[in-house]
């Protein structure tokens, strides 16, 4: 069975209603406008980046911290660590709660990896963001509301698929993450109009499946 959803597992969701100034500063928040923090760990970093961005569209929060862990969820430091720690900050607990609700909803119902082969030993993340929020738009140097294809796969698959995606659609490269990244995946962010982003993501997923089926095209 290929291209089946691999749903992310949210490992923890915690809040700090009134965080200490030192914590706020250390995690990139601004004590003059942030009071409360919301923290999430999850076993899929890229789904979480997308979900953090989604949260900025639903509540006036800032994503102050989001970092993937080395070697990914299979080599986590503890059963709650997963692959990423995301931190959102807001002026009050209610705002953060609103943001967390959007974040969890996105992780449970939208963003996820897909299996590229039988047994899901290879995973691909061919995600299309219809309309960027404030977090990823800033990371990508795009405008909020732009469309973006957020494409992730293991190194060899990602490289072949990156090429296929660029050739399949009228898209522009925003940022390429060549291997090894922290989780040892590789990624590409492409932008263009929505239908072109969709075409790029589809070509990307198809190429990953193709490489998974035929790792050798030599001899």
């Amino acid at each position: 069975m290929i291209l089946e959803a691999i749903p992310p597992t949210i490992l923890s969701v915690r809040r700090i209603h009134a965080a200490h100034e030192s914590v706020l500063r250390s995690y990139g928040a601004d004590p003059s406008k942030h009071t409360s923090l919301g923290l999430v760990t999850c076993d899929q970093d890229d789904s979480t980046y997308v979900a953090l961005d989604e949260a900025t569209k639903h509540a006036p929060i800032d994503v102050v911290f989001a970092r993937s862990f080395y070697a990914g969820a299979n080599h986590a430091s503890g059963r709650l660590s997963g692959e990423i720690l995301g931190v959102i900050a807001g002026p009050d607990p209610d705002t953060v709660e609103e943001g967390l609700m959007a974040l969890v909803r996105c992780l449970e119902h939208d963003a996820c990896f897909y299996s590229a082969d039988d047994g899901a030993t290879i995973a691909v993340f061919p995600h299309v963001i219809t309309s960027l929020g404030y977090y990823l738009s800033e990371e990508a140097g795009l405008q909020p509301g732009d469309s973006m294809a957020y494409l992730v796969a293991p190194p060899i698959e990602a490289t072949i698929a990156f090429d296929a995606a660029m050739k399949a659609a009228d898209v522009r490269l925003v940022r390429a993450f060549t291997p090894p990244t922290q989780t040892n995946y590789a990624a590409a962010w492409l932008t263009g109009i929505l239908t072109e982003c969709q075409a790029a993501a589809e070509a990307y997923a198809e190429a990953v499946v193709e490489v998974a089926r035929r790792p050798w095209d030599f001899r």
Partner: protein
């Protein structure tokens, strides 16, 4: 279903995986925002509650995070809209005639000017002055004047009822009552010129009062003994909040007649008028003491 899921499903079919994907978990229904207006137990303060019992102002409404609850905002906007509507309503030119009243107009040219130039609203224009001299009964005891003031809505709403009640109460007491008239673009002090022209002993102007939140239909009545140009506010007595939720027009008409009686007896009005004998009848209008709070009418219906 998300954009990505749809796209992957199509690709999957194209790659020969005909069996459908297991359906994704349904997106849960997003809960409707709470409809509660007044504070939850957590944010309710007994101070705000006690304060709210003494005023029609919007007090003790709680908060949602750093914001007002949605229905409080809706309520505020609805009430503000009522006030705006009332301020911007213009009394139709033919309204006075259609009600059988003598039509008068101040020196104001249009509604915009009326709002910006109170001085012009205190004088009659030439045409009205002539009409007043020619058509109005002269040398009367009481001259009631209906006017638009700051809320034509109020005038057209309960103005006639107040005018008739007041006039009837005066006739019942044996006084001569002047020609019923209606002044457009009128300020309170217009009663001085009108009263002086018809030679009235007491002039009483009934006009729409400045609209507040949720109250665009309030009338006020100002009365002066021996109206002359140059009388000031200290020469006047007034009753305000004449509307269904405040003093009803029928009661206000009777109270005004009693006040007029006191003026005729004491031959004065305003600060020097002694209303202490009428406290029981006039209630709050006769004293500067405690006033019963108005009942706040909710324009936006909510569960509480």
């Amino acid at each position: 279903m998300s954009t990505t899921r749809k796209l992957i499903e199509a690709l999957r079919e194209r790659l020969g995986q005909a069996d459908p994907l297991p359906s994704p978990p349904a997106i849960p229904r997003i809960q409707a925002p709470p409809t509660r207006v007044f504070p939850t137990a957590r944010t309710r303060s007994c101070y705000a509650e006690q304060a709210a019992a003494h005023t029609a102002a919007i007090l003790g409404i709680g908060h949602v995070g750093t914001r007002y609850a949605t229905d409080v905002v809706l309520q505020f906007q609805a009430e503000l809209a009522v006030a705006h509507d009332a301020v911007h309503t213009v009394l139709p030119d033919d309204w006075a005639q259609s009600q059988g009243l003598l039509p008068l107009k101040s020196r104001v040219e249009d509604h915009h000017q009326f709002l910006l130039r109170p001085d012009l609203g205190r004088r009659l224009d030439e045409e009205s002055l002539e009409r007043l001299r020619g058509n109005a009964i002269q040398d009367v005891d009481i001259q009631p004047i209906l006017a638009d003031g700051l809320s034509a809505v109020a005038t057209m709403g309960s103005g006639i009822r107040l005018l008739e009640t007041f006039s009837n109460e005066c006739r019942f007491r044996g006084w001569t009552v002047g020609t019923p008239m209606c002044a457009k673009y009128a300020r309170v002090w217009l009663q001085d010129e009108i009263g002086e022209t018809v030679g009235a002993r007491v002039a009483c102007i009934l006009l729409g009062e400045r609209p507040g939140l949720g109250t665009g239909d309030g009338l006020s009545a100002y009365m002066v003994y021996e109206p002359r140009m140059g009388k000031t506010d200290s020469d006047r007595n007034m009753i305000s909040n004449i509307h269904a939720r405040g003093i009803v027009p029928e009661l206000a008409g009777r109270q005004l007649a009693m006040m007029a009686g006191a003026m005729l007896d004491q031959k004065t009005s305003g600060v020097s008028l002694d209303l202490s004998g009428l406290t029981a009848e006039l209630g709050q209008a006769a004293s500067g003491g405690y006033r019963e709070p108005q009942r706040r009418v909710r324009l936006v219906e909510t569960d509480r």
